[in-house]
Amino acid sequence: MGRRSGPLVLAILAALAGGPAAATTLRPFSVRELATRAELVFEGRALARAARALAPGGAIRTCVEFEVLEVVKGPPVASPLVLCFSGGRVGTRERRVHGLDVPEPGERGVYFVADLGGARIHPLAGWDQGRFRVREGLVPEVTTADGRPVVGLDPAPPPARGPDRDGVARGARLGSPGERGLDPAAFKARLRALLAEPGP
């Protein structure tokens, strides 16, 4: 009891605290759809992030600076590139958007940016569906946003869905436990091939 009361008290205090929040429902997409809709697809690394209130007492945005390592699709962009997400914490004020996970500094990945000019809730196309992380190591590998290895990209994926597919764009083939994900160069090459194929 003594060991559990700390987190319990924290949870109760969190529930008692006031503040604005939001929760969404997202559309599922295939990798190909996301890549086609995205204005920019780039490999990058998050350098820094900071939250700011747009007005006193108003909405909060968390902006992340990305070092652009390579543009896979879209116009040349200056590096660092800044992408802003809804929500964040400024001082004692917090605004939560459920399901919106802002990249931490140090994260490397391939990101599908929906719209370079727009003030969207989330800058990435399909939210985490348009975010493929690169797990660093002796041989880097591409994973989904939640860390599952991506072993292939299918141009015409089946429509099947289920809880195990949530958060992952269709067409991103997931590896079984222990299997290695594609290396970033192979992933980007397959993405370019996907984009070069004629549409359905």
Binding site: A23, T24, T25, H98, I121, A125, P163
Partner: protein, 400 residues
């Protein structure tokens, strides 16, 4: 007593019942009921939203208190931002003014105070081709009922649940009803329904020609709502679109979608070896909506002062109310195809008309308080135009 319920809710967030996977947001409605204004949602979608509320009520000892007079999710300013108003609406921005984009179906925003909900607003993305249907999810036609069911789960205090079959999955899909985990979640918050109703009988399938007529009427409803929403968006923030280019693009996009939906309905009927009864091709059917809707928009905008914020807000409200009423009237016609109940059709049509009149008169009175003297089309004349539009479209869809 309320304090006890509050603490119990917070503790449940830490540890759901054994065997359940649901996740709680944290805040709750301590008295087991919540307001829900559906006044800004038209016809069939309004009924679907109320059906979704019923489903949650049937699963638990929770009660929604529906009302029909509000403006929607929030009272927006020139930037599209505004305080939450316990309502639902179609819009392309959330209540902080951020674009929903092509990937967000809907967003529920809420304020909390001391562990309880202090304000809620629900925005459905107006840029999508919403439909109502059972069965597998269609990516290009999001299904309204199951998304409403999901969002009302947030309204009650449930968070996303991606580890078990659930309507609360982050991503919309084939689940179109509450699953065991959802029921467990809402019961953990508010207890079981003391008097559950018997399950309703399922509907008979429509013959292909009737289904085509219904689908074309739904497409017309969406076109009318979208066209008036395009006008409303510009009317509410004229400085952002001084030459009306964004509005024109919005109108063109609405027309393209209509043509696609109209054609799809014809193709589905043809696949089943049937012909649609409509006497109008897609272009003629679109004109039956576009011309009177444009005339109505011009009338509601007559004499507007684009430099006046209260005037701009009034025109936006009038146009959105007209869009909701037009959508409601045409969706009533679509439901009539299945039900064949003239009395219910008349009631729904009358409700659509009354909804427009009520909202328009309230908006004009509110603007008058801010010094705006409205000199556009009087609301009863606007309602007549909407009725005539719906009559003409329904007649054409039926082949007369």
């Amino acid at each position: 007593m309320k304090r006890l319920a509050l603490v119990a809710g917070a503790a449940a967030a830490l540890a759901p019942a054994a065997g359940a996977a649901f996740v709680l947001l944290g805040p709750i409605w301590p008295d087991g009921s919540a307001p829900l204004d559906v006044g800004a949602i038209g016809g069939g979608f309004r009924n679907a939203l109320l059906d979704a509320a019923d489903a949650w009520e049937d699963a638990s000892d929770f009660e929604f208190r529906p009302s029909f007079g509000g403006d929607g999710a929030c009272d927006r300013d020139a930037f599209g931002r505004g305080p939450l108003e316990e309502g639902a609406e179609f819009h392309d921005r959330d209540c902080d003014g951020f674009a929903l984009g092509f990937d967000v179906l809907a967003v529920t925003q809420y304020e909390t105070q001391g562990g309880r909900f202090a304000g809620v607003g629900l925005v459905f993305n107006e840029d999508l081709d919403w439909e109502l249907y059972a069965g597998p999810w269609r990516d290009d036609e999001p299904e309204f009922f199951r998304v409403a069911l999901h969002e009302l789960g947030h309204w009650l205090g449930l968070d996303h649940e991606d580890g078990a079959p659930s309507i609360m999955s982050t991503f919309a899909g084939d689940t179109d009803e509450l699953r065991a985990d959802d029921v467990a979640g809402v019961r953990a918050l508010y207890g079981p329904d003391p008097d559950p109703p018997p399950p309703p009988p399922g509907p008979e399938p429509l013959d292909p020609a009737a289904a085509c007529r219904r689908d074309q009427l739904r497409a017309a409803a969406a076109l009318c709502r979208r066209e008036l929403a395009c006008e409303a968006k510009r009317a509410g923030a004229p400085a952002e679109d001084p030459a009306g280019l964004a509005r024109d693009a919005c109108l063109a996009s609405a027309a393209e979608r209509f043509a696609r939906q109209y054609g799809r309905a014809e193709a589905r009927a043809a696949e089943a070896g049937a012909a649609c009864p409509s006497s109008a091709d897609a272009a003629a059917a679109a004109a039956l909506v576009r011309d009177p809707a444009a005339a109505l928009a011009a009338g509601l905008l007559a004499g507007s002062d684009e430099a006046s914020r209260p005037d701009a807000r009034l025109r936006e409200r009038l146009l959105r109310a007209a869009g909701a009423a037009c959508d409601a009237a045409l969706r009533a016609e679509a439901r009539f195809v299945r039900e064949g109940d003239a009395e219910r059709l008349a009631k729904r049509r009358a409700r659509a008309r009354a909804g427009f009149l009520g909202k328009a008169e309230a908006a004009i009175a509110r603007a008058a308080g801010a010094g705006v003297a409205y000199a556009g089309t009087p609301p009863p004349e606007g309602a007549d135009l909407l009725d005539a539009l719906a009559d003409a479209v329904a007649a054409a869809a039926a082949g007369s």
